[in-house]
Each structure stands twice: as C-alpha cells, then as structure tokens.
C-alpha cells in the first residue's frame, strides 16, 4: 500500500512537470482576465453610475467569470496534451516496463487535471464571493454576474473539456487534435442543445443550463470510464 501511494505521488509529480506549459498558459490566462477586469471596472469608470460599488468588488466578480471563459481553452490544451504527448514521444513505453498499474498511470493524470481545475475553481469562486461581499451595498456585482453563464454551466463545461481531451488522446497521438476536440465538443454540445430546444417545444420546459450540465457531466463520465477501460486493455507495442 505504501509503495502504491509513493508510486502515485511520483507519477503525479511527473505529470505536473509534463503539463507545466499548459498550466503556465492557464495561469497567464487567469491573471490576464483579472487584469482586464480591473482595467475595465476601475473606480473611475463606475463613479458616475453607482458610486456605492467599489471598482475592486465589480472587477473581482467580472474577473472571476472572465477567467472561467479564458480557462476553458487552456483546460483543453492541458487535457489534450497530458496523455497524447506521452504517447507521441513514446515515453509511455518507459512507464509500461515499470511497476505502476495502468489505473495508477490513468489516475495520476486525472489527479493533475482535476487538481488544476479545483484550484482554479477555488480561486475564482473565492474572488467572486469576495467581490459580492465587498460590494454588498450595491446591485452592480450581481448585475455583472447575471451577464455571464452560471457557475454550474462553467463547471460542467470544464468537466466535459477535460474528459474529451483526455479520452480522445487514447485514439490520437496528436496533442493538437485532442486539444481541438476538447474545445469543440463542449461548444458543439451547447449549440446542439440550443438547436434541439428550438426544435422541440417540450425541451423548452427544461432549463438550458441544467440540461447542458446534465448532458455534459454524463457524457464526460462515459468518456472517462471508456478511456480507462480502453487504456487498461490496450497493448503497448
């Protein structure tokens, strides 16, 4: 058991290092989003409309939502690279002669992707909550938040992005193809749901966000389980 935990830690450290470029991109994207939000929602710009709301409070809320938008393509890069890169440069063959089980190899990569997403989510949620708290005398932070999709939508989109990039990498060694798929499929899912709701009157009765979230999470789970089954049974030539 001790060796199993040490192995998982060693694999996870390696996967963080392998994914350092997409993680750096993600950090830059998030920082840029907040910088943009602070530039747009400065006190100077707000003073005329709702002076009781501080620029910082609105910027924190807006920056949180901006950064979630920015994070989706970055998560596509991360998930599309983490397995495909290792298969493309054949370093997966090195792992295949070492003791880790396929499940440990699979899990360490999931730990990295889900870990990065959770840290991002924690930062974003904290700043949004702090923004709402700081601007509690004003309606402006809430008005800003209402202009963006809900947090549930972002969580579902992030999950589907990660699941798609990772799963596709079991069929393609091209990081580019996996990244593109991880970006297109969640967007395509949203378009398809919007189209289906236009066509079907009964679907209008379901809230679009809940429908998207449910379908995305179910699809993502199926993809992850399928790729795990595929990876466990795959031969390494």
């Amino acid at each position: 058991m001790k060796v199993a935990v040490r192995t998982l830690v060693s694999l996870t450290k390696k996967d963080f290092r392998v994914s350092s470029f997409p993680i750096a991109l993600l950090v830059v994207g998030v920082v840029a989003s907040y910088a943009l939000a602070f530039a747009v929602f400065s006190d100077e710009n707000l003073r005329g409309s709702q002076p009781e709301a501080s620029g910082a409070s609105v910027a924190m809320v807006a920056g949180g939502y901006f950064s979630m938008f920015m994070a989706l393509p970055m998560l596509a890069v991360l998930s599309g690279t983490i397995m495909a890169g290792e298969r493309a440069d054949e370093s997966i063959r090195f792992l295949s002669i070492l003791p880790p089980t396929r499940t440990q190899i699979f899990a360490s990569k999931l730990v990295v992707m889900i870990g990065v997403t959770f840290v991002l989510g924690w930062i974003v949620l904290s700043t949004i909550a702090a923004g709402h708290f700081m601007g509690r005398g004003s309606q402006l932070p809430s008005e800003v938040a209402e202009r963006f999709p809900s947090l549930l939508w972002f969580a579902a989109a992030a999950f589907l992005t990660i699941a798609t990039g990772y799963s596709i990498s079991f069929f393609s060694t091209s990081s580019g193809v996996c990244t593109l798929a991880a970006f297109i499929i969640p967007v395509g899912m949203q378009v398809a749901i919007a189209f289906a709701q236009r066509k079907s009157s009964s679907l209008y009765e379901i809230d679009s966000v809940h429908l998207y979230s449910g379908v995305s999470i179910a699809t993502g789970l199926i993809m992850i389980v399928s790729s795990w089954v595929c990876f466990r049974s795959r031969e390494i030539l």
Partner: protein, 305 residues
C-alpha cells in the same frame, strides 16, 4: 536459487497481429538462475515474446507464466520483480539521470540505493546530465541501472547491445555477468551479438518465424553439433536421422550437412555403403550454428532437410 517455480514457462504460446503469426505454439521453460540467450533474425518473434513476458502484449493463445504469475492479470507484480531493458530506451528526455532515478525509486520496495550509486559511478553516469544529452550507449547503461536497481529476480534484455561501441558493450556485458554471479539472477536476453551470447549464456533458444527451433545448453549444443562435408553431386539418401539434420546445402560440388547430436558411427556407415565419401567433419561455432538452424528452415536458403 533453485526453485520449483520456473522463471518463464510457456505452453503452446501464440501471438497473432492480424494476419501475421508472430509466435506459433511456443513451449519453453526457463529455470531460475539460468542465463538464456534468445537468438533470431529480425522479425523472428523475440521482442514479441519479451513483451508478452511483461504483460505489454496479450497472447492470442496458450499459456505464459513469469515467476509463476500470469502476465495478463498480474503484470504489475511481475514488473516489480523483473528488470526490463528495452531495445530503445524511451526515457523522459527533459529529465536528468538523477530525476529518472528519483522517479522510479518510489515504485520499488526493494530499491538498493548504495548499489545504484556504485553502479552509476562505474558507468560514469552524471546524475545532473539530461537524458536528451546522453549517447545511445549511456542510455543503455541507464536502462540497465534502472532495471537492476531493485535487485530483480528476472532480468530481461531486449537487444541491449544494439548501437553500442565495443568498449561500452564489454562494460555492459561484464556488469550483467557480475550481477548474475552476485544475485543468481535469471537473465533472458535477445541479441544479434553472438559472441556475447556464447560468453554469457548457459542456454540458447533459437527462434525463427515465431517457432522455437532449438532450446539447449550452449555447451551441449556446440559440443554435439558437427558439419560433415560429403563429396559428390548427388547426395541421395544418407544414413542420418532426418530430425538430426539441421541443414544441408550444396557448396560447389560438395554437400555440407550440419548434424545435431552427432554420432561418429554415422561417418563409418557412410564410408561402408560406398555411395558417399566424407572429406571433413568439423565443429561449429554458435554463430555458424545459428545460421545453419535458420537456413535449415528457410526454403530460399535451399535447406532441403
């Protein structure tokens, strides 16, 4: 290290890649503590057998047991007890030698740090050097270091000497020999370097087109195999059991017959019947013997066994 559990045992083991039968009903048993050379031309099925042994491939038929374990269901346990040196090392190129060792160390409960330190010094492996800056010989040494670091019960080497200069090859071979001597490890190695095979191996397995042609002790094989030169255009029937004829081929106006389990009485009986005249009987090196076994089953080589 003698044990009732064999290091490797296969029964009617087959592996098919679509229409290509890479291994065809291979039945072998390698006892623990033996050093076994696996010989075969490219595409003979050597690497397939070795990849099956560590569970990277799944057999199409038959049974395979490594240290008594099934690689299909217990490949993780097998890889923890086996050291594998692949033909081409695929380390993480961005890692340094030290980082590679730090990466693999936690995966083994029996990692021997002092031994790894001594061996890396002996191999002149700079721990701070990036893997991408290592020569193919140094990469092979790093592979061996990783494979030996946990004192494996079975060491599998897949064409480890390919691309190495003679000095590196000698260093590598000596290290394997010392390791075997010290820990009574079982070693299974495939190679094209027949000199090293004859130097290291207790037993040899010759494999061709997925089938095992011979599996015997090296000394026994070399001592009991002879080449007989028979004068005459027409060979006709010769008083040698068909399954003892490894290969026969025509060289100018004579026939050269390679015979396993050679019995001197054969030559006497050929002289007696008067139809054949034996001009020479010679011993055969492992290298020539390997070629004759392969010629013997290759129609294009004119074996006509």
């Amino acid at each position: 290290m003698a044990s009732s559990v064999s290091a490797l045992q296969s029964i009617e083991l087959s592996k098919r890649f679509r229409s290509n039968l890479a291994l065809d009903s291979v039945t072998i048993r390698i006892d623990q503590g033996k050093t076994v050379g696996l010989l075969g031309i490219n595409g003979a099925g050597k690497s397939t057998l070795l990849k099956l042994a560590v569970g990277n491939l799944r057999p199409s038929g038959g049974e395979l047991k490594i240290l008594g374990l099934d690689p299909q269901t217990m490949s993780h346990e097998i890889r923890a007890r086996v050291g594998f040196v692949p033909e081409a090392s695929q380390f993480y190129k961005w890692m340094t030698v030290g980082q590679i060792l730090n990466f693999v160390r936690p995966m083994y409960s029996a990692w021997d740090e002092p031994f790894v330190g001594r061996l890396s010094n002996r191999f002149n492996l700079d721990l701070k050097r990036r893997v991408s800056h290592l020569s193919s010989g140094m990469l092979a040494k790093l592979s061996l270091l990783v494979a030996l670091g946990h004192q494996p019960e079975l060491l599998i080497l897949d064409e480890p000497l390919t691309g190495m200069d003679p000095l590196a090859r000698q260093d590598f071979t000596e290290c394997v020999a010392e390791s075997v001597f010290r820990d009574s490890q079982t070693v299974l190695f495939s190679s094209h370097q027949l000199d090293e095979v004859s130097e290291l191996a207790d037993e040899v397995i010759i494999i061709h087109e997925g089938r095992v042609l011979v599996h015997r002790a090296v000394a026994d094989l070399v001592n009991t195999t002879r080449r007989i030169r028979v004068i005459g255009e027409n060979l006709g029937s010769i008083p040698i059991q068909a399954d003892h004829v490894v290969c026969r081929r025509k060289v100018q106006s004579d026939w050269i017959i390679t015979v396993s389990d050679f019995d001197p009485a054969i030559v006497a009986s050929m002289a007696e019947d008067g139809r054949h005249r034996v001009s020479d009987v010679s011993t055969v090196s492992l290298s020539e013997l390997f070629k004759d076994y392969v010629r013997g089953v290759s129609p294009s080589e004119g074996s006509g066994k």
